[in-house]
Symmetry: C3
Subunit: 306 residues, 3 copies
């Protein structure tokens, strides 16, 4: 790895690299102690120009679990950005103090600009409504561990499919694999954008659209829930009529397969009832755990340690 | 320890456990190097939904002094709470990234709700005006180390005894021991609540109330100072008349025992004059130091390491 | 070192001590692994009552690169200062939880007040418009490594020389050495204060003033750029007329010596054009790197490890 590695979008990783990261994460989960000093004397900088506890903590936990250390900032107010510094300069500066960078920024494209001059590996930890590749890696690891492979399964994506970046990235990643069927469940206003549907068509993937979760749930192997924000609806009437359809509860689960897995990128507000937490199909907290291990794998890989 | 340990209120610890923590803290203070790697590869999450530098830093220092690492957030703004996540979900999430949690929350009862589903040990680091058990452990260690035991002494509690949670918890803890006499020194408006007095009565503890510190100080073995906030007084007149009585200075100390110890949970504003800092009886900074060691003991105990 | 060490102003260090720190930093840069565990089991507290990402991260990186750990706060809002605690009390408290303190405060003189009662070594990480000694050490290390010594060279200081604390400290430090010539380049409103000129005169140092960078650049061995804030100008007319003169670009560099070094304390806004970054004379990011190593040297020295 002579070139400095950057992960801006999940498409920056080849299928071979994703497979390598899955294998590495599996190996870490099987025996974390084997890796507990792998990043000793290495430093991760977490540059969060926008707060995101979950993502920041999972990166931090990942680096610490490798024996490394973590520095950074949790919001833009305590960054030099307030003094007019460019993101690019901040990233070069961080490269003087750390061996690898995870960066989150509210502005789409900021990580691309920042990555141009970085002297150390840089990971996009989310940029506005754009990319969030480590969430996708997290989702992939969860699916891979629960289903055993990425081929031949049906995934339901439920909620706001128009603006939900995690959904778009996950679809893009899964299109690389064989025979994944996509069930798109959303209010009419929040359907998956046309360009995403075209991508699926070009890949020859099968997909169907539903308005109600109830109608789609029986055929799913994976149900990926996301939030539907009230303000996304065009009118109050639609919202009142449809909102309950995007809340997963015990009743709706009755028609689901017994080994379906329920995922959610978290945080949830009310789109999954708390009663579902005790269902053996609930995987969203397991998914959070996967986020720690896949980030360990990514850090190792980008630092050229594995 | 098969069950996940939680410390919400000091009463969650048996007398035997408190004694064990005192002994363990003593042993750590005698030879900290013996414990400096005891928590290697362990992570503490400090979830502070409300800022509290002193408590957060003492937990952090405790974990680091055990060779462990620390992640978390210092105020709610950089937590997922702003996205509508429940405290319970945040705690489950933190349990995916850390081995033990210390949590502070402005809402009374929040840690109880949070603790219900935690998968890792959880320590309440203060919840509004309610409980703050590690402050009580800190106070207990200070008294134990300075007096040699918890039996047969007279403690004066001075200041706002109505709202001061540290005072209530300390009284509850000391009621378990033999022959502790309580001297309650406060403005009439800020006297200890009736239910606390009933608790003392039921335990058969001797207690007396004073309005002026000057009158009470000669008989004390321990003087525990707390802040009296101006806004707690019912009228300006009372405040002006009484406020100096709750400020400890060299003059008032003249009538005190030569080996009395002066405690304060800190931060102080003006309730102890700076001139008192050089008095050998001043123990409040020593108390801060004890806070680090007793938290080390608690972390070790809850992680099942000691 | 029986006395607790404090670094408030660069003048707190003897010339011998500065030379020692330069040598130590050189040695660290030559072989960082030799020092990677030197501060194992030691804790640095970073008390930042005012945000400053760059300085905080460089201290943090320095301590971590020595195998030590770091705790603290990044702005006053999450400190006990909001509860009315004095800076002196905060520093004593931090001394209960850490082995060494780096403190930044918006109020001039705050570190002096704080240092009076500290029980552990204390480093001023910047106090308002006053002192910032570790920036000066950073600047010195950069010059020393690039020029090979502190004697016999010409340094141009460009920008706001009236309020720029880094410039004043650097001049004071360089006056200790032989035959350093100072070229002062600033708008008339922002010239170096008289008392600084008197200091140079008393030291017998040669100095000249210029209004335009173009006129001064050919004779410089070092060009130290600082920001000129628009609001510092007395009138808009002057600002428009002069502002471009304080922006370094490729064109102005044409007349500069081939081995001149360009420095800047960072963050920059627009006073150095991005095109200059690729010029081999650009040293400002190297300077940021030096900041990490000289702070490593300082921490080691103050902890009595080297």
């Amino acid at each position: 790895m002579n070139e400095v590695r950057k992960l801006i979008n999940i498409t920056d990783l080849s299928t071979g690299e994703i497979d390598h990261l899955m294998d590495l994460a599996d190996d870490i989960m099987a025996d974390p102690t084997k890796y507990q000093d792998a990043c000793a004397h290495k430093i991760l900088a977490t540059l969060f120009f926008e707060p995101s506890t979950r993502t920041r903590l999972s990166f931090t936990s990942a680096m610490m679990s490798l024996g490394g250390q973590v520095l950074g900032f949790a919001d833009a107010k305590s960054s030099s950005a307030t003094k007019g510094e460019t993101v690019s300069d901040t990233v070069i500066m961080a490269g003087c103090y750390a061996d690898i960078i995870a960066m989150r920024h509210p502005k789409e494209g900021a990580p691309i600009a920042a990555a141009r001059k970085t002297t150390v590996p840089l990971i996009n930890a989310g940029d506005g409504g754009h990319f969030h590749p480590t969430q996708t890696l997290t989702d992939l690891l969860t699916i891979h561990r629960k289903l055993g492979s990425f081929d031949n399964f049906t995934i339901g994506l439920c909620g706001d499919l128009m603006f939900g970046r995690t959904v778009h990235s996950l679809i893009e990643a899964l299109l690389r694999y064989e025979n994944v069927k996509f069930i798109l469940i959303s209010p009419p206003e929040l359907r998956l954008p046309e360009y995403m549907k075209e991508k699926m068509n070009r890949s020859g993937a099968e997909w169907h659209e539903y308005t109600k979760l109830e109608d789609a749930i029986p055929e799913l192997d994976v149900l990926y829930m996301t939030r539907v924000q009230k303000e996304r609806f065009f009118n109050e009437e639609d919202y009142v009529r449809l909102k309950d359809s995007y809340i997963l509860d015990r009743e709706k689960l009755e028609d689901a397969k017994k080994n379906m897995i329920i995922m959610h990128p978290l945080p949830r507000v009310n789109e999954i009832a708390v009663e579902v937490d005790d269902d053996p199909r609930a995987c969203y907290f397991y998914q959070a755990k996967c986020g720690r291990y896949v980030r360990m794998a990514l850090i190792l890989y980008f630092l050229g340690i594995n």
